[in-house]
Symmetry: C2
Subunit: 782 residues, 2 copies
């Protein structure tokens, strides 16, 4: 069966061919295992090899770029003799262009592929099935990388790895950079062939997933509400999640009996959430924050029967949905896709170090919104039969509100919890015993309590099954409260990246010293040098007037700044409705101390109308911007993690900062953070700031608008809705210390009272006022 | 530890005492097992014995009546040395009065008790817990009987056996006669101590449970919607369900992973329903009907992942909800307590003999009622990913509609099904192959197909796990479609009652020849002889006028009839608002050919206003009833399975048949069947017929009103609502071949079009008309 393939081997492979023959002969008498059937060099050869492959065969993809390939890996291996599809050299086989991999059958193994510079033609990059009826079982994808393999449009949702069948594995892979909609990895359970799947997602490195803006940005989703009654038995273990910031849920467990164990959640802006389904075990995980970023979360609980044990939380200061332990209120008799009540949950043997208000109950209660929401949306059902016991809290700075009850925790039993709160009094001391103890530093982020006296251990039903601690040490002989039993601790080296992901890939980047490229006002030099610059370089503008007649493409990280204290001026003579700077995917521009002058018809900054397959970014500092139609115009399906204007004067423009095209009302928006600090807006006629998010979804917690220390003068004259600062649907809004003068609007801003919208210390003169609406009527998203 | 008890043994027990000592000594060197600690004679001794009992102890209840005892059986036995609480002689220990049994601890065994003549003071008769936190595990109740142990009021819901904890067993018990609200047996799962319970309900005989009228009359309920996400793993196996007519659900499975196996459902007016929860296995059960009663049902499917295999259906002609296989429509994104969509269900290897339209899909669809129901009530989600395969149908008389699609079965795969339809064409022949084969009679109710050719067997995902057939024969070597693999069949003796229930109790009653007791019109003789009669006796009235001044109590089955063709007349001179015949619990009266005359202020028939702890019944035939305030007045919380008037003239009464006090709108009503045939109603001023059921609950399918061949003349003159025959909410109404003359009402009847309400061949003269309202606006029950 290998003759065709072998005959295709060329002369250069003769030696290999020969050794293969020897291998095959030597294996003959034995079980046929690990037989390399040949190095295939193109999709035709690969298809042929796959169609001929049998147990033990080893299909090798030749090194190089495989462009526009749709690999269907079908086969029937056996436990002892799987069929392998692997890179000739791991990491040297590049799957690019419009490509994907689907597999079905039994005992199939994929190893060493690098998906990059492309996207999938289907709804997934790697799928453990080839058709609705043909799934893979006992198969694996190992030692692979998927990097930035994004669809061209942000709203073209897909998955990068989609599980079907049973007993499949994703291990030792590095996966990062997904910006389009859809979870990075999803386990699908529709159909009996995919339940009780015992899939394993282990030893992977989930690298940075940028903020997506809105929902559908989970890193791992286990099932969906429609399969939330199904037993899944999926294991997610020993993975590193690094800066997985896609949305509020890093892992969204939506099925039953899943195990989430010994993972590291490092500076990831989200939580592990038992969104649907029941009886998850979340055991021995590390949640590492920085004590500053409130977006880093912990474990958020919905539904029944979960066990939250042996987890370690460090420097997590997330609030409410993002608190280290967030126990949600449910909807009584909830619809299938909404919030079931929390019942029969155990939270035991966890350690919280320097976390702010680590335990929050009644999270998501919205009884106050009963007027604007249907009854089937009101989360009023408090947790029942839930135990929070044997936990330790250490606060370097005493915390007056260790427990926050958004709704009463009256269905929760608290026993055998202790805290060192530095002697600071706190609410509900009967729930947590104040005591004194010190910490032992085990490593950079690991500080463990050293108890000097014995504390009684609460033993609830089933507690005898908690036999190990955070480090895998036995709890059976000598037990203690907290995540780790007392004793000598070894550094778990949780951030040693060689333990996770593909062995041939590292995402550690040496910090390069940026080149400073000097540019003069000579015609065309600016454009040429920006195009030639490397990511991170600084373009330094000599004084003068730069006449630019065509949009300058920004498709990398770049800084443009005036060389001297005298600001260089860019005078744009480009066509109407074109920008000075066209922000392309990956284009992150910092512009400092530059004057931008238009002719009233153009845009200072804009992005592509289509194919924004990756995010952009913009920081404007110390600039003067005048005479544009738009200062910034962001199009639909485009996203910037951060947009910042500071120390900048904006004047005589028709429109200001326009981020309002995400009108699909699915919770999307154009930027996560819009920051305006110490800016002067003068004679900006409309849309001075227009930043929109539509669609009611309580679990999406963005965007963020900060307007501070700025002046708005003679603005908003043409504003049709008579509101100066438009930010409808934005969850976090701060308007502080601004001066509003002679703006002919009715309202400077309408704040959303139920959310985190605040204004203070502003001064108004002949301008509209700031109003607060407690509840916005919004379209339900589901 | 046994000394106290032993010292309490009296002289008469000396011999026993002595032998006990010997037993104890002989056991001493060995593991302590089965040590009788003494015969206890009252609750104090019992409590003492229980408090002292240890592993291996055997507490014996002395024979006799134990009245008003609340037994709390707490203890810690071991697997090899359980603690036993048993009757001195099984069946000779009578638990009566206000009594119950609660147990908690491990390895406790109860044996031989007879609960009768009483009711429980708590919400259960037998509970596997003694407090919220103290449950029983590895414990059993065996060889016991619970008979008619009903609460005094029908609306005082309770349970007779309530499971908590894990690994408990109810076996070899006889349980019958529950008339008050609440399932007979329920498994409760609230709290982690009661999930994955592996309880066993096996080898029991569930004797007749009378129709309850409305909901809350299940024989077994496994959990509730609130625990429908929990793994239960309860087994219900090898039980006989005989005339379990409580409500539309005999077994209501509401949790996950339950096994319902090898049970016999014999002439039981209900179905096995996977009401909530998922992944039930319903394997090898017998559903035996009579080909006449449409109330006998089969298996009704809601939710995900059930396996319906190896079942045998005989003479089941139930329709819609009660069809042999009823696959329901779900509510999209259903609330927790409503109807989830059917997905991933397998219906394989079942045999249907002489069942009418055995497969019904889209059951419960109510798209047409979208106008009167909220969106969250509309069952429009059809079954998905469901397989109906390898089944055999045999119809003695060809069936044109083997499959009924209340809504499309387009998400169902049909493969390898065959039918002998006697050559009669039927819809969707591509789903079931028409073929010829004969039946083999195995026993009275068991007829199995004898296939003369081989039929292909469909092998779906997981089918290799169906290793046995209906009889436990292997499917692995030689398999065939249908419930039983082809071969020689042994009579499974499914109705051999010695196989089920307590070995000391039988519900088989010799048919006694009734005594005919002659009565003359002598003052008081009628009342005395009725009181003295035995159940089933016939009171034969000599001609004459019987003056009765006080209500006659009917508390047993009795017939009162005129001896000769000349009708005896009972003239009632009792107080206002008292009945001639006061129907008490168990009072089932048949009265024939008698004239009943009142003074316009009394009732001909009524029942108790309170404490109707069991049902009544009434058949009036060939009588003349005149000058009463009410012909029949039924009070709240009273129920008759059947009320029949035939060949009877009713005249000059203020009110007719009044069955309308169940106004709680919880789906309750006063009788299951009200039958009026060939009667003459003349000058009945209001409530000629008033029969009410309130509360919307699609799964309750009663009551039944039949009005045929009767005349209504000059009736309804005082009727406030201007409707002659009031039957609002009654699901089955037939009004046929009646004559309505000079009734001054607006409507003779308002039929409920969406339900089974029909009228035909009636003639009207100067009377109201019959109107049909398609959808009634009703109060939701939940």
């Amino acid at each position: 069966m290998n003759t065709i393939l072998n005959s295709q081997l060329n002369i250069r492979k003769g030696l290999l061919f020969f050794s293969l023959i020897i291998m095959m002969i030597s294996c003959k008498g034995d079980l046929k295992t690990d037989v390399t059937v040949g190095v295939v060099k193109n999709i035709a050869e690969l298809d042929e090899a796959i169609s001929n492959a049998g147990p033990g065969d080893n299909i090798v993809l030749a090194n190089g770029v495989w462009k526009d390939v749709q690999i269907k890996f079908l086969g029937e291996g056996t436990e002892k003799a799987p069929i392998t599809l692997r890179a000739e050299t791991p990491g040297k086989v590049f799957i690019e262009g419009v490509s994907n991999l689907e597999m079905s059958g039994d005992y199939l193994k994929v190893n060493g592929l690098f998906f990059r510079n492309g996207h999938s033609p289907t709804e997934n990059v790697i799928a453990f099935r080839t058709s609705k009826d043909s799934v893979a079982n006992y198969s694996s994808v190992s030692n692979c990388v998927i990097l930035d393999f994004n669809n061209l449009e942000r709203d073209q949702d897909n998955l990068w790895v989609q599980f079907y069948g049973t007993h499949n594995k994703l291990d030792h892979c590095y996966i990062a950079g997904k910006t389009n909609g859809g979870p990075t990895v999803r386990v699908d359970l529709k159909g009996n062939q995919s339940i009780r799947n015992y899939h394993q997602i282990v030893n992977n490195h989930f690298g940075p997933r940028p903020r997506k803006g809105g929902a559908r940005g989970e890193t791992i989703q286990l099932g969906s509400s429609f399969t939330s009654m199904s037993p899944s038995n999926t294991t997610i273990a020993n993975n590193l999640f690094e800066e997985c910031n896609g949305e509020v849920e890093i892992i969204s467990s939506k099925t039953n009996f899943n195990l989430i164990k010994n993972n590291v959640f490092y500076k990831s802006e989200g939580s592990v959430v038992t969104r649907h389904g029941n009886y998850a075990t979340i055991d021995g995980n590390y949640f590492i924050g920085d004590g500053k970023n409130k977006q880093f979360g912990g474990i958020r609980i919905v539904n029944t029967g979960h066990w939250i044990i042996n987890n370690y939380f460090y420097n997590i200061i997330g609030e409410n949905f993002r608190s280290p332990l967030a126990v949600m209120n449910g909807i009584p008799k909830s619809p299938l896709n909404r919030y079931n009540q929390v019942t029969d949950v155990v939270v035991a043997y966890n350690t919280y170090v320097n976390c702010k208000s680590p335990w929050q109950f009644g999270v998501g209660t919205n009884i106050a919104q009963a007027d604007v929401l249907p009854k089937s949306e009101i989360r009023s059902a408090r947790a029942l039969r839930t135990e929070v016991v044997n936990n330790i809290i250490y606060n370097k700075i005493g915390d007056k509100n260790i427990i926050i009850e958004h709704d009463k925790a009256d269905g929760v039993t608290f026993k055998s919890n202790i805290v060192n709160n530095q002697g600071v009094a706190f609410d509900n001391p009967e729930r947590i015993g104040a005591t004194e103890f010190e910490l032992t530093k085990v490593s950079e982020n690991i500080f463990l309590p050293k108890l000097t006296s014995e504390f009684e251990i609460y033993k609830g039903f089933g507690f005898e099954k908690i036999t190990k601690d955070l480090f895998g040490n036995s709890r059976e002989d000598k037990n203690s409260i907290g995540a780790a039993v007392q004793g000598e601790f070894k550094d778990p080296a949780i951030l040693d990246k060689t333990k996770y992901g593909a062995d041939w890939y590292s995402n550690v980047v040496e910090t390069a010293v940026p080149n400073v490229i000097e540019v003069t006002a000579t015609n065309g030099e600016l454009e040429t040098k920006i195009a030639a610059a490397k990511a991170g370089d600084v373009i330094s503008l000599s004084p003068g007037t730069y006449n630019v007649s065509k949009s300058i493409v920004i498709n990398k990280i770049i800084t443009i700044q005036s060389k001297d204290s005298e600001k260089a001026e860019i005078v744009f003579t480009g066509a109407d409705n074109t920008p000075v700077f066209e922000l392309n995917p990956y284009g992150i521009l910092t512009i400092k101390n530059v004057i931008l002058t238009g002719n009233d018809k153009q845009q200072a900054f804009s992005n592509l109308k289509e194919n924004m397959s990756n995010h952009f970014g913009l920081t404007v500092s110390g600039c003067e911007i005048n005479n544009f139609n738009y200062v910034l115009k962001a199009y639909k399906q485009t996203f910037a993690e951060e947009i910042t204007f500071k120390n900048t004067a904006i004047s005589d423009c028709e429109n200001g900062i326009e981020l309002s095209e995400e009108t699909n009302d699915r919770g999307d928006y154009n930027t996560e953070y819009l920051t305006i600090d110490n800016c002067q807006f003068t004679n900006v006629k409309q849309n001075v700031i227009d930043y929109y998010r539509g669609g009611y979804d309580e679990s999406t917690i963005g965007g963020n608008l900060l307007v501070t220390n700025s002046t708005f003068t003679n603005c908003g004259a043409q504003e049709k809705n008579r509101i100066l600062l438009n930010h409808r649907g934005i969850v976090n809004v701060t308007i502080n210390k601004n001066t509003f003068t002679n703006n002919s609007v009715q309202f400077v801003s309408i704040l959303w009272g139920a959310k985190n919208n605040v204004a203070s210390e502003n001064s108004f003169s002949n301008s509209g006022k700031i109003k607060t609406e407690e509840n916005l009527v919004m379209k339900l998203m589901y």
